[in-house]
Symmetry: C2
Subunit: 397 residues, 2 copies
């Protein structure tokens, strides 16, 4: 008599959560410091000081103004601050009217998908490896079909021949996530341009826009002085889903936005559909105080140098023990191949050393594992000899 | 090619929002102080000082702990604080496991409705006058049917003969809102008991639970030393949807909860379905800092004496000018009859005096109007002579 789909989704713990809970139990036996938990993507770097300062400043203001409802799309001044930040950094020309503030990236995605889905035949394409909740948002949330493009495991860039064959008259949108969770890979400028060209061509062929939904929570977490290509100006029918969870290290506060550029076909209808979808899903407005915090801190980041240190340490270490791994350009994940084809068995074996790793199957790529390095650097230093022992067990070295 | 239902919902401004925007435009002509805007339910009473103190205290804590993800159902300590507060006030015996923290009452409702709806045949009953978004949440959100029980306009209590006839084998739930928006009426203990008995009887008759969804954002805003009957212990299959928007005057911060008592049939499945629905709708967790604020301030309220003053002033004034109005026991709305049958025409006429009132039609009760008195007392004092002039125009006095 209940919605069994919801019961199922509520009861089925994610693999990541299972491992996390195992770690909590195991910590009671061997001590928290002896658990090497690489399973969770919860930033360990504190929010920049400017966040605490912003909160304290705002808390001094008129509480009626601070804590009142904002308009459903977000306070106008806040949206203008979002526009100013992107315009300054990417030479764009957005205004407040291009933004819709949300309760974080998951809300940005569920709202966009609901706004665009006109029929259960509609298809959204995602690229393996992908964030597992994408399937839930597309299938169970929007009621559309989720089509997975298999991974190009040499470099985790886009497999264009397969993508091209997978676009059909039912393709409503393509979802990209660069820097990527779980691979850390950043799509190159060339990849992005090729994707834009293909979508433009296919939109013309089928006589309707194919939307590019760009999920960009890791946009500011990049290494080696690289720049993440900003896709929106490259393809006119792009919707950007952003969140301050990772850049400002405040994932619990649920603050982000949807950017709808003027170039999007039928802009007014698309923006209205987003407002309608937000309303239907019960999002009255994004949290008011943190809208202001985001406006004050837009464009800043937490201190990312720890991640850079961790990345080098872990990547160099794993490679020296015989692990194969694409070098990540951003985010805080490695996605190496496991030393045996069955990732679940391999990750189970790693537990003997209290190394907690996530099998790649849930991300759509068997034979790989996600290693989340948003941990203390010391944790990595102490874990490396264990990764080495694990490799020796598999005769990798 | 878009979701036209969402486009429509996004473009159709609510009547309340239309009036509010009209007021903004008109203020530019006659000055803000000469607009008497009784259209909006945005609390004008500041949050209690304890809210600002709590925010400042929390901002001093470890930012990684403060701003990190909580579990999807909310931090355990926060949920325990919610339980302790209700247990202390209502003599109940709830635990942390009975609570699911949400982004406010709208999220509580959309999540519950999604969790319960198993088929498009499922029906949810609402009582006129009702909060207009209920229809959106039930029909467009959960994809169920919304059945309206007409108002009993003498006292806005429940019309039981009609309710009884309206319960069918398809009835999945009944939604109540007491103290009520827009009437301000509080369901009496007798009404609540009668409702519980009827639902118990009908659940037995049809062989499945009929859930009572109790939307209680105004639970603490009550007058004359009255107590709002707490329905959950009176009917075992009750789900309580709560929000701190009104009690703590922080509607923009989006913090509330769903209470699922142990007595609910198939408790584990219902709670799981709520977790699943929250996941599908994109609610990762309720805002973390305000979860802690709610825990620290649970059971407190903003200073409600202004509302009490406003209520008396406005109710006495309107009645003395010949308006008929049920005395509200709580919330901050009056819902008087308009002085002509067509409420829209009447409210249009009131605009001549710069009195901004909301026609009752959108709340399911023609011939009435909502007068929101969460305004400055002085606004009411200066508006009363205008209400009098309006009444004279209609020869009411």
């Amino acid at each position: 008599m209940l919605n069994n789909e919801m019961v199922g989704l509520g009861k089925k713990r994610s693999v990541i959560r299972e491992i996390f809970e195992y770690g909590n139990q195991r910590a009671k036996v061997v001590g928290k410091e002896n658990i090497f938990d690489f399973s969770i993507g919860n930033p360990n770097v504190p929010a920049p000081d400017s966040v605490a300062r912003a909160i304290e400043e705002i808390a001094q203001m008129d509480p009626v103004a601070v804590h009142g409802y904002t308009s459903a799309q977000g306070a106008e001044g806040v949206r203008q601050a979002m526009a100013d930040d992107l315009n300054r950094r990417f030479g764009t020309d957005y205004g407040a009217h291009n933004f819709y503030m949300t309760c974080g990236a998951a809300a940005s995605l569920t709202i966009c998908l609901k706004a665009l889905t006109a029929s259960p035949e509609d298809e959204f394409l995602i690229f393996a490896p992908y964030f597992p909740e994408y399937q839930v948002f597309i299938q169970n949330g929007a009621g559309a079909k989720c089509v997975v493009i298999p991974a190009q495991i040499e470099d985790f860039q886009i497999n264009f021949p397969v993508l091209e064959k997978s676009i059909t008259p039912h393709t409503k949108g393509v979802l990209v996530n660069s820097p990527n969770n779980p691979s850390g890979v950043v799509y190159s400028n060339e990849t992005m341009q090729k994707l834009a060209d293909l979508l433009e061509e296919k939109s013309a062929e089928y006589g309707h826009p194919i939307y590019l939904i760009s999920d960009e929570p890791y946009r500011e977490i990049i290494y080696d002085g690289q720049a993440v290509p900003f896709i929106a100006p490259m393809y006119r029918n792009t919707l950007v889903c952003y969140s301050y969870s990772k850049s400002l290290s405040m994932p619990g506060e649920r603050i982000g936005y949807i950017l709808v550029p003027d170039s999007v076909e039928a802009f007014e209808d698309v923006y209205a559909a987003i407002c309608g979808a937000g309303r239907v899903l019960g999002y009255v407005c994004a949290p008011a105080l943190f809208q202001m915090v985001a406006a004050k801190c837009a464009g800043q980041t937490a201190d990312l140098s720890v991640y850079e240190t961790n990345r080098k340490l872990l990547l160099d270490g794993l490679r020296s023990f015989g692990y194969t791994c694409v070098a990540p350009g951003g985010a805080f994940y490695l996605f190496p191949r496991t030393l045996e084809p069955d990732a679940a068995t391999f990750c189970e074996c790693a537990k003997k050393y209290d190394l907690l790793l996530v099998p790649g199957d849930g991300f759509g790529v068997p034979g790989h594992m996600r290693v989340s390095y948003c941990v203390q650097t010391e944790t990595i230093q102490r874990a490396l000899p264990l990764f080495e022992k694990l490799a020796r067990e598999y005769h990798a070295i």
